[in-house]
C-alpha cells in the first residue's frame, strides 16, 4: 500500500469553479506498491480533472486488466468506472461512447494490456477516431505476474532477474501517430508539471487522444540495466517543449520567448501553448512528429511532451452521423416504428 491517506482536509482548500476542492476528485486508497509511478499518474489525473472543472459524474473511466488498470479505482470516485477484461477496454469504451456521446471517456491501460493482448482493439479504436483519452502507464513489464518483459521493453534491457530482452520493442507513440491518432503525447510519471497540462489537453481533444506515460515499476523493473527505471528515464528524457493548456475563454497568462513559442488553437477556442525546445519539429505535422520520435529513439532519448496534434479532428460519431442527442436517452416513441408500419411490412412479405 502506497500510503495511508488522512481523512482530514484543510477546511479552506481552494475550490474550482464548480465549488469542488481537489479531494472531491480523489478515489479509493491505492493498493499498488509504494513508489509506483502509476500512483503519480493517478494524482496527475485528479489534478487535471479538478483544474478542468470536470463534473465527475459526466466522466466515465475504463480500464482493462493489470496494475495500471486497477488505478481507475484510485481516482474520481464520483465517476462510474469499468474494469473490463484484459486488453478489451477499447471495445467497451467504444460501446459506452456510442451510447452517450456527451460524456468524457477516460481509458487507462498498461503496456501488456495495450501492446500485447489488446493491440487489435487499441489500433482499431484509433482508426475509428473514438473520442476518448487513452493513457498507457508504460513500465515495460508485467507487474501483477511478477516482472516478465512486456512488448514495450527495449531490446537489450535487463530486468530484475538479470534476464535481457531479446526482442524489438513496440513504440506506442509512433504507432499511434502512424494509425491516425489526432492527439499523441508522451510523458514521464515523475514529471507532473508536464503531465497535467497534457492530460487536460487530451481530455479536451475531440478525437482519439493518446498519452504514453513512462511509469517505472519500482518492484520489478527499477534495476540497473533497465531502460524503464527511474534513473534511466531521468537521464534520457528529452522534452519537446514545455506545455500549457488553456481552456476556452481564459486569458493567456503564460509568456514565452519569441521564436520558440507556438500556440495551437483547438476547435472550441481553447489553446495549447508550447514552448518548443527543438527547432526542427512541427507538432501539427504528422511526418515531422514521426521523425522527431524516431530521431530521439536513435539517440536513446525518450522524447516527451505533445508530439502531434490535429486540432480539426473528427470523431466516430461524426463519421457515422449519429444523432446529436445521446442514444441512451431515446424513448420508445423515438425508436419504435409501431404496429401500423409493421402491418405494412407484413403486407410486403406476402
Amino acid at each position: 500500500m502506497t500510503y495511508i491517506r488522512p481523512k482530514f482536509r484543510h477546511p479552506e482548500l481552494p475550490k474550482n469553479e464548480l465549488g469542488y476542492s481537489v479531494d472531491y476528485y480523489e478515489g479509493a486508497l491505492s493498493t499498488l506498491c509504494a513508489g509506483c509511478g502509476h500512483d503519480s499518474i493517478s494524482a496527475g489525473i485528479i489534478q487535471a480533472a479538478y483544474e478542468m472543472n470536470i463534473e465527475p459524474h459526466k466522466l466515465a473511466k475504463l480500464s482493462g486488466i493489470g496494475c495500471s488498470s486497477k488505478t481507475p479505482a484510485y481516482f474520481l470516485s464520483n465517476s462510474h468506472g469499468f474494469n473490463s477484461v484484459h486488453g478489451r477496454m477499447p471495445s467497451v469504451a467504444t460501446g459506452a461512447n456510442l451510447a452517450n456521446r456527451d460524456l468524457i471517456y477516460f481509458g487507462v491501460s498498461g503496456d501488456g494490456d495495450t501492446a500485447s493482448i489488446g493491440m487489435g482493439q487499441f489500433v482499431h479504436a484509433i482508426r475509428r477516431g473514438l473520442n476518448m483519452t487513452y493513457i498507457v502507464m508504460n513500465n515495460g513489464c508485467y507487474g501483477l505476474t511478477k516482472g516478465q518483459d512486456s512488448a514495450t521493453a527495449d531490446q537489450g534491457s535487463k530486468n530484475k532477474t538479470g534476464h535481457v530482452n531479446l526482442f524489438e520493442s513496440i513504440d506506442l507513440a509512433s504507432l499511434a501517430i502512424e494509425l491516425g491518432a489526432t492527439f499523441v503525447a508522451q510523458s514521464f510519471s515523475g514529471d507532473k508539471s508536464q503531465m497535467v497540462p497534457l492530460i487536460k489537453a487530451a481530455m479536451n481533444h475531440p478525437g482519439f487522444a493518446f498519452i504514453n506515460v513512462i511509469s517505472p515499476c519500482v518492484t520489478f523493473n527499477n534495476n540497473m540495466g533497465s531502460t524503464k527505471s527511474y534513473d534511466y528515464v531521468r537521464q534520457h528524457v528529452e522534452a519537446t517543449a514545455t506545455v500549457d493548456f488553456v481552456p476556452k475563454m481564459k486569458e493567456i497568462s503564460v509568456e514565452y520567448g519569441k521564436g520558440t513559442h507556438k500556440q495551437v488553437v483547438m476547435h472550441d477556442g481553447s489553446v495549447i501553448q508550447l514552448h518548443k525546445l527543438s527547432e526542427d519539429w512541427d507538432p501539427l505535422n504528422r511526418q515531422s512528429a514521426m521523425n522527431a520520435v524516431l530521431n530521439a529513439k536513435a539517440k536513446n532519448e525518450i522524447l516527451t511532451g505533445l508530439l502531434y496534434v490535429n486540432p480539426d479532428a473528427h470523431d466516430l460519431h461524426h463519421m457515422i452521423q449519429t444523432s446529436d442527442r445521446p442514444l441512451n436517452i431515446m424513448t420508445k416513441e423515438e425508436l419504435c416504428p409501431g404496429s401500423e408500419i409493421l402491418k405494412e411490412i407484413n403486407e410486403g412479405l406476402r
Binding site: 459524474h57 467497451v92 459506452a96 487489435g120 482499431h124 406476402r350
Partner: protein
C-alpha cells in the same frame, strides 16, 4: 388423366444451380408464386461457402397439409449445373423428373431408365432471344421458371404480378422478363405433356401468413425493441441479421433532413470487440446487440462471463451452423447449446431463447432486450442457419403499441436522492436482481465501479470468501427468478395422452410435428412439448416427470439438450431417448419416425440404436416408406415412362424463331436417344440409383453474402 394418379400440392423440387448466376431471384420467384396461390411452401438454400462458381441448390417443398420441414425424395430437379449433374441425376426419386438444358446432348452417364427427362434448350433459346451476355445468363433461369409454371400449373398472372412488384421503379425491365417466362411456357406447351401429375392448385390456406427469413425478422425485432447500438463481425450465417437491422434502420432511424441517425452500427475488428462494444453500450444505458455464429460465440466467451458476473444486459443472436471449429459453415445445426448455456470459465449460466419461426424470431428479440435489462445478464437468441437464411412461411409479425420497454431496476436521479447509500449489488427485493445506475444520472450519488473481480454489495473489491459466496448464491437466486420470466414451452395437448413424449425446439419443430401426426395416423400416440427457453420452466419439469419415455429431438451429435435436461433438472438419463440429426441438413420427419419406431419396436436395443442412429436409420427408411404405402408406391406406378413424355401434338403458335428452336430440339431428342442406345442404359441406371448424394462445400468461409432481400422490398 385419371385423378387418382395426381398429387395436388404435394411435391419436392430441387434446383441445381451455379453460385452467382442469378438463380436465387428466379428460384424465389417460383416459390413466391406458389405462396401467392395460397399454398404452403418452404424453400431451403443448400449453398457452398463460396461467392461464385460452386454448386448451389435450392429445394422447395410444397405441402398442402402445411408440413414445412424438409422432406427426402426429389420429385423434379432443375439441373442446370454440369458440375453437380451426376449427383443431381442420382438424387431424383424413381419415377421423378429431370429438367435440363438440352442445348447440348446429355452424356450417357446422366441417363437413368427410371426417371423422366425434360430437355429444354435454355442456352440456345437465350442466345436467340437476347444479345447481352449477362441477360443470356440471367434469363435462362427465368425461362425454366416459365417452363415450370406450365408443368405445375402455376398461374401466369401471379408471376407477372410478382415481376411487376420486383421491378417497381424499373418497369422497363419487366417485358424482357415476361418474354423469358413465356418462352418457357410456350416450349412446354409445344413439346411436353402438361401439367405434370403432381402440380399446384390454388388454395386459400395461408390467409394472412407472411414469408420471411429468420435473420431479417431478428434484425427488424431489434429495431422494434429499441436497439440503438449494434456491433458485429461478419460471419455466415448470421451476417444478414445485422444487415437487416441496417436496412430497416435506414428506413426508420434516419432523419431524412439532417442525415443523422438514431442508431450506431459498428463493424468491429473481431467478435471479441463486437461483444465488448455491446457490453459497453448496455452498461451506459443503450439497448445494444450483436449477432454471430458458433465460432463467434467461442470468441465471445470471455466477455459473456464478464457480463454474467458484472451483471450487464447483453443481447446476442447465435445463428447456429455446423461445427465444430469451422465445420460446414453453410450448413445448419443446433450444436451450440452447451457452449451458449455455460459460456465462459467459472460458474456461469446463460438465458437462452429458442425461436422456431420468423415471427418468433421477431418476438424473441423484443423479449431478449426486456429480459436482459430486467435480469441484467446476457440473453442469447438461439436460431440456426435453416431458420435464419431460408424463407419461412410464418404468422404475421405483431407489435402491441401499448407494450413498453422493460428497462428493469434502473435508479434515476430522483430515486437516488431518496437513498442514503447506494449499493449496486444489494439484493433489496430478495429476487437476486439488484438495482443499477447509468453513468451521469446524479452528480454525487450512484457512481460505482463495474468489475469482473469479486466485490461486495457496494461494488468494492473484496477477496472475502463469505462476500464472494454470497454473491454467487445471489446469482443463483436470480437464475431461479428467471425461470418464471422466460417464455413457457408450447404443449401440443391439453392433458397427457401417452406415457411417451417427444421434446424438441427451434427448427426441429417442423419435422417433429409432421412425424407426430404420422405416428398418430398409425395409432401411435405421443405427447409433445416444444422448448422456448433455458432455464427450464416448471412446465418442462412437469412434462419430463409425467412421462416414462421422452424422445429428445435435436440437431447435433452429442444430444446437448438432453444433457441440459439431465444437468439442470436431474432428469433420469434412461428415460431420455435421443433422436438426432447432424449431417448439416435440416432434420426430416422420416428421420424422426425411423428413430422413434426403431426404439419403440425393440425397447431392449434402445441404447445401441441411439448411439448409432445413422446405421440403423437407413435400413428402416425403406421399410417405413414401404409401410406408409400411400405416396411412394403410387408415384412409382403413376410415373410415366420416358417415352410418354412425348412431344405434344399441338403445333407451336409462336414466331418462326420458336419453331426453329423446336425443330432443333427435336433433333437433339433423336440424338439423345441415339446416345442412349449406344450404351446399355439399364446397367448405367442401376449403378447410380443406390449411390448417396454428395454435397461439396469448399472455399472462403466467413463472407458468404446472404441472399436476403433488402428490407426495402417490404413496400410493394
Amino acid at each position: 388423366m385419371a385423378a387418382k394418379k395426381d398429387k395436388i400440392n404435394d411435391f419436392v423440387i430441387r434446383f441445381a444451380n451455379v453460385n452467382g448466376t442469378g438463380s436465387a431471384s428466379a428460384n424465389f420467384l417460383f416459390t413466391k408464386a406458389i405462396f401467392r396461390m395460397g399454398i404452403p411452401v418452404t424453400p431451403k438454400n443448400i449453398f457452398p461457402s463460396n461467392i461464385q462458381g460452386l454448386p448451389t441448390w435450392y429445394e422447395v417443398r410444397v405441402n398442402e397439409k402445411g408440413y414445412l420441414g424438409r422432406r427426402e425424395g426429389i420429385d423434379l430437379i432443375v439441373a442446370v449445373n454440369p458440375q453437380s449433374m451426376l449427383n443431381d441425376v442420382k438424387s431424383v426419386r424413381s419415377g421423378g423428373y429431370f429438367l435440363y438444358d438440352n442445348s447440348k446432348p446429355l452424356h450417357s452417364e446422366f441417363i437413368r431408365e427410371d426417371i423422366n427427362y425434360l430437355g429444354i434448350p435454355l442456352m440456345q433459346m437465350c442466345n436467340e432471344a437476347y444479345t447481352d451476355a449477362r441477360q443470356r445468363q440471367l434469363f435462362k433461369n427465368i425461362i425454366y421458371v416459365g417452363a415450370l409454371a406450365a408443368l405445375f400449373n402455376i398461374e401466369f398472372a401471379v408471376l407477372e404480378e410478382l415481376l411487376a412488384e420486383q421491378f417497381k421503379g424499373k418497369e422497363k425491365l419487366i417485358p424482357a422478363n415476361v418474354k423469358a417466362l413465356k418462352l418457357g411456357v410456350d416450349y412446354v406447351h409445344a413439346n411436353f405433356k402438361y401439367p405434370l401429375e403432381f402440380r399446384v392448385e390454388r388454395r386459400d390456406l395461408l390467409k394472412d401468413m407472411i414469408m420471411m427469413e429468420g435473420n431479417a425478422a431478428c434484425g427488424l425485432g431489434a429495431v422494434y425493441a429499441g436497439a440503438t447500438v449494434a456491433a458485429w463481425y461478419p460471419i455466415t450465417p448470421s451476417t444478414s441479421v445485422v444487415e437487416a437491422f441496417m436496412d430497416y434502420s435506414d428506413e426508420f432511424r434516419l432523419d431524412k433532413i439532417t442525415g443523422k441517425r438514431n442508431v450506431a452500427i459498428v463493424q468491429a475488428e473481431d467478435e471479441l470487440a463486437a461483444i465488448g462494444m455491446v457490453i459497453g453500450a448496455n452498461w451506459n444505458g443503450a439497448r445494444s446487440f450483436t449477432a454471430t455464429s458458433g465460432p463467434g460465440v467461442s470468441l465471445m466467451n470471455e466477455f459473456l462471463g464478464l457480463a454474467y458476473f458484472a451483471e450487464i444486459p447483453t443481447v446476442l443472436v447465435d445463428v447456429q451452423r455446423t461445427g465444430p471449429s469451422t465445420g460446414m459453415p453453410t450448413r445448419t445445426q443446433q450444436s451450440d447449446i452447451m457452449e451458449a448455456a455455460y459460456a465462459s470459465h467459472g460458474d456461469t449460466k446463460h438465458v437462452l431463447l429458442f425461436p422456431s419461426t420468423p415471427k418468433e424470431c421477431f418476438d424473441s428479440m423484443l423479449d431478449a432486450f426486456d429480459l436482459s435489462e430486467q435480469l441484467q445478464t446476457p440473453i442469447i437468441v438461439m436460431t440456426d442457419l435453416d431458420l435464419g437464411m431460408n424463407d419461412h412461411v410464418s404468422p404475421p409479425l405483431t407489435f402491441d403499441d401499448k407494450r413498453e420497454y422493460k428497462r428493469g431496476k434502473v435508479l434515476d436521479a430522483e430515486a437516488l436522492e431518496k437513498i442514503e447509500k447506494f449499493g449496486r449489488y444489494l439484493d433489496i427485493d430478495k429476487d437476486g436482481i439488484t438495482y443499477r445506475t447509468i453513468p451521469a444520472t446524479h452528480p454525487s450519488k450512484g457512481s460505482f465501479f463495474t468489475r469482473g473481480t469479486s466485490r461486495d454489495e457496494y461494488a468494492t473489491y473484496t477477496e472475502d470468501s463469505a462476500a464472494y459466496q454470497r454473491n454467487m448464491d445471489r446469482l443463483i437466486r436470480k437464475w431461479n427468478t428467471a425461470k418464471a420470466m422466460v417464455p413457457a414451452p408450447q404443449l401440443y395437448q391439453k392433458k397427457n395422452e401417452s406415457k411417451n413424449g417427444i421434446l424438441f425446439f427451434g427448427t426441429s419443430e417442423y419435422a417433429a410435428v409432421e412425424a407426430m401426426d404420422i405416428l398418430k395416423e398409425e395409432k401411435i400416440v405421443v405427447d409433445a412439448i416444444r422448448l422456448k427457453s433455458f432455464p427450464f420452466t416448471k412446465e418442462v419439469e412437469a412434462f419430463v416427470n409425467s412421462h416414462d419415455k421422452i424422445f429428445v429431438i435435436e440437431q447435433n451429435r452429442d444430444a446437448q439438450m438432453r444433457s441440459l435436461l439431465m444437468i439442470e433438472m436431474g432428469a433420469e438419463p434412461k428415460k431420455l431417448v435421443s433422436v438426432l440429426n447432424y449431417d448439416g441438413m435440416p432434420i426430416t420427419a422420416d428421420n424422426i419416425l425411423n428413430q422413434i419406431k426403431a426404439n419403440l419396436g425393440s425397447a431392449k436395443t434402445v441404447v445401441a440404436k441411439v448411439a448409432a442412429p445413422k446405421a440403423s436409420t437407413k435400413k428402416v427408411v425403406k421399410k417405413v416408406t414401404a409401410s406408409k404405402g400411400s405416396t411412394k408406391k403410387v408415384v412409382k406406378k403413376a410415373a410415366p415412362k420416358k417415352s410418354s413424355v412425348a412431344k405434344k401434338a399441338a403445333p407451336p403458335k409462336e414466331s418462326s424463331r420458336t419453331k426453329k428452336v423446336a425443330k432443333k430440339v427435336a433433333k437433339k431428342k433423336v440424338a439423345l436417344k441415339k446416345v442412349a442406345l449406344k450404351k446399355p442404359i439399364k446397367k448405367a441406371a442401376k449403378k447410380v440409383v443406390s449411390k448417396k448424394k454428395v454435397i461439396a462445400s469448399k472455399g472462403s468461409i466467413r463472407s458468404k453474402k446472404s441472399n436476403s432481400k433488402k428490407a426495402s422490398k417490404r413496400r410493394k
